[in-house]
């Protein structure tokens, strides 16, 4: 069963449709990659799924109940959202930042319980940031910070994780690290939706891909291999892909623009 299901989403900005009748669903155990050219509405779709943006038309249901009908905190406990380029404004200690992730589980005056501490420790271990616990978050490198921010989301123990370009701006080593982490979370039963620009990473780590086109429609939705076979990715992006495989795992590389010698 799908944990998060969207039907017929429409969003317009400045008179131009950004999402145009989008259906989307994610279930536990899936790592769904949202791909598509710039301006195709990937981040917008993620915002709608995260209840940060109400759609002009259409519905999103979480566990069968409309997203808007969920009490804020209940919803926040189930859906974790990792903002693009997430950062802390204040120079907080890393363990404090991760602790903030428990907010959906606390009352306005509540303190930390044993369950909170266990979740925080687990999240920090998963993201390998225990060693950074006493560092100041604003002094970390991009890769370290990305992991800390992911740990912040995981501390809230969401059943669904929505990540907006978590690999952007990271070096290849950290890109692979973050993607492996996300794929591992899906294997562990979480429903993961991740906006990606990097087709190689998307092909490699996602169990399913949802391709949005520039008109804000779903051009294709399925396992990575089927999208690759149909040639739809090349058509929507206007590029040619170089394909190969290593140890039985297919990979792609954006090779050249379409129609160029």
């Amino acid at each position: 069963m799908s944990m998060l299901q969207a039907t017929g989403l429409h969003v317009a900005r400045g008179g131009r449709p950004v999402l145009n009748g989008v259906d989307f669903a994610v279930a536990g155990g899936e790592c769904v990659g949202l791909i598509g050219p710039n301006g195709a509405g990937k981040s917008t779709l993620l915002s709608v799924l995260a209840a940060l943006l109400p759609p002009a038309a259409g519905e999103v249901a979480l566990e069968g109940r409309a997203l808007a009908d969920w009490p804020r905190h209940e919803r926040a406990r189930r859906i974790g959202y990792l903002e693009q380029g997430a950062a802390s404004h204040w120079p907080l200690r890393v363990d404090r930042v991760v602790t903030l992730g428990r907010l959906p589980h606390a009352g306005p005056w509540g303190g930390e319980g044993a369950g909170d501490r266990a979740a925080i420790t687990r999240a920090m271990r998963q993201c390998e940031v225990e060693g950074l616990a006493e560092r100041i978050v604003t002094t970390l490198s991009g890769g370290e910070r990305a992991r800390v921010m992911l740990a912040r989301v995981l501390a809230g123990e969401p059943s669904i994780l929505l990540a907006d370009e978590p690999a952007a701006g990271l070096d290849p080593h950290h890109q692979l690290q973050v993607m492996e982490l996300l794929a591992g979370l899906a294997t562990g039963g979480m429903g993961v939706v991740v906006v990606l620009h990097d087709l190689s990473l998307a092909m490699r780590y996602c169990t399913r891909l949802c391709l949005l086109d520039e008109a804000g429609r779903v051009a294709a939705d399925g396992v990575p291999e089927s999208l690759l076979e149909s040639g739809i990715i090349e058509q929507v992006y206007g590029i040619e892909l170089l394909r190969g495989s290593r140890d039985g795992i297919p990979y792609v590389l954006p090779w050249k623009q379409r129609g160029m010698g």
């Binding site: 915002s47 903002e83 404090r96 921010m149």
Partner: protein, 331 residues
């Protein structure tokens, strides 16, 4: 709350208690501590009891309350605007609240309706905050915020000058001018009674937003995804600031820089976390204001120095220092 925060709050509370007692015992009339205390408890008749109950007690309590309001409002505003330079004075709320209070004094309303004073202060501060939001926008840069604050301050100051200009007689003008300088002198029990409910309500509103302010430090979208109601947070911060600062300023006049200096001094010990900064800023604000008020009574000058003048003299260099630091960070 962790042990370090407990110790900080405990230590500041202790200091506050000491300063409250000192503020009660020190004054221009040399009266023995024992007499004052028994005067307070009703064991004395005549001038000593009057001084203890009607002059010293309200002065000490008002000082603590107003300091707490300014300190916590500064901390909350900085957390909300994610800007260490935000302060009730700098964004014009204090001068607008003063103007509201000046109007009430000018028209002699405060004698007839004691509540008019805090209400006018609150209204002034409210208008200022709305203007700032309209002028600078919510995600304002440091520069826009300061410029908008300057605009609002200038307007409030001009209107106040207008009131001075049109004052019916020199005595009224002098009263307004002196009042504007900011002071705890000659404040009565009635001032305390009319202002304290608003200040306390404001403090509680501000304190209730601590966790949401923490989340806001990670960005608005992230905070919203964590279950923070951004609209309610804005209302609570604005209303809390307006109530606390408006009521405080309406009884003491504008006392600047407390809201800037206090959170800055405490930010490091509270790990830069907005929620952990709120109550310590209230306590330290109360301590700082009481200490400054003790200072003006102990410094031997012909006329007692005005409290607002002293905090301004101390606070302005501090502001310079913060500006230089901000400039270095922006590079």
């Amino acid at each position: 709350m962790n042990r370090r925060d407990m110790m900080l709050i405990g230590g500041l509370s202790l200091l506050l208690a000491v300063l409250l007692v000192a503020s009660f015992l020190v004054g221009p009339a040399p009266i023995a501590a024992g007499d004052l205390l028994s005067g307070l408890m009703g064991g004395q008749e005549g001038p000593v009891a009057l001084i203890a109950q009607e002059i010293r007690l309200p002065r000490a309590l008002l000082g603590a309350l107003v300091g707490a309001a300014l300190g916590m409002a500064g901390a909350a505003l900085q957390g909300y605007l994610r800007n260490p330079l935000a302060e009730p004075g700098l964004i014009g709320a204090s001068s607008a609240a003063s103007f509201g209070a000046v109007l009430v004094i000018y028209f002699g309303l405060s004698a007839a309706y004691p509540l008019a004073l805090p209400l006018a202060g609150i209204a002034g501060a409210g208008v200022a905050v709305l203007l700032i939001q309209g002028l600078a926008g919510r995600d304002a840069s440091v520069l826009m915020l300061i410029l908008a604050g300057l605009a609002v301050q200038t307007m409030a100051a001009s209107l106040t000058s207008l009131a001075l200009n049109l004052a019916p007689n020199p005595h009224a003008a002098l009263e307004i001018a002196f009042w504007l300088l900011g002071s705890l002198t000659d404040r009565t029990m009635q001032h305390l009674v009319v202002a304290s409910p608003f200040i306390l309500a404001g403090l509680l509103l501000l304190a209730s937003s601590g966790k949401a302010l923490d989340a806001l430090g990670l960005g608005e979208r992230t905070a919203a995804s964590m279950g923070v109601d951004l609209t309610s947070l804005r209302r609570r911060t604005v209303l809390g600031t307006v109530l606390a600062v408006g009521a405080a300023v309406s009884v003491t006049g504008a006392i600047g820089f407390i809201g800037l200096v206090v959170p800055h001094l405490l930010r490091r010990v509270t790990g830069h976390q907005p929620s952990r900064l709120l109550w310590p800023s209230a306590l330290a604000g109360a301590c700082l204001l009481l200490a400054a008020d003790l200072g003006v009574r102990l410094v031997p000058t012909n006329d007692e120095l005005k409290l607002g003048v002293v905090t301004g003299l101390v606070g302005a260099p501090f502001f310079f220092h913060l500006l230089l630091k901000t400039r270095a960070e922006m590079r």
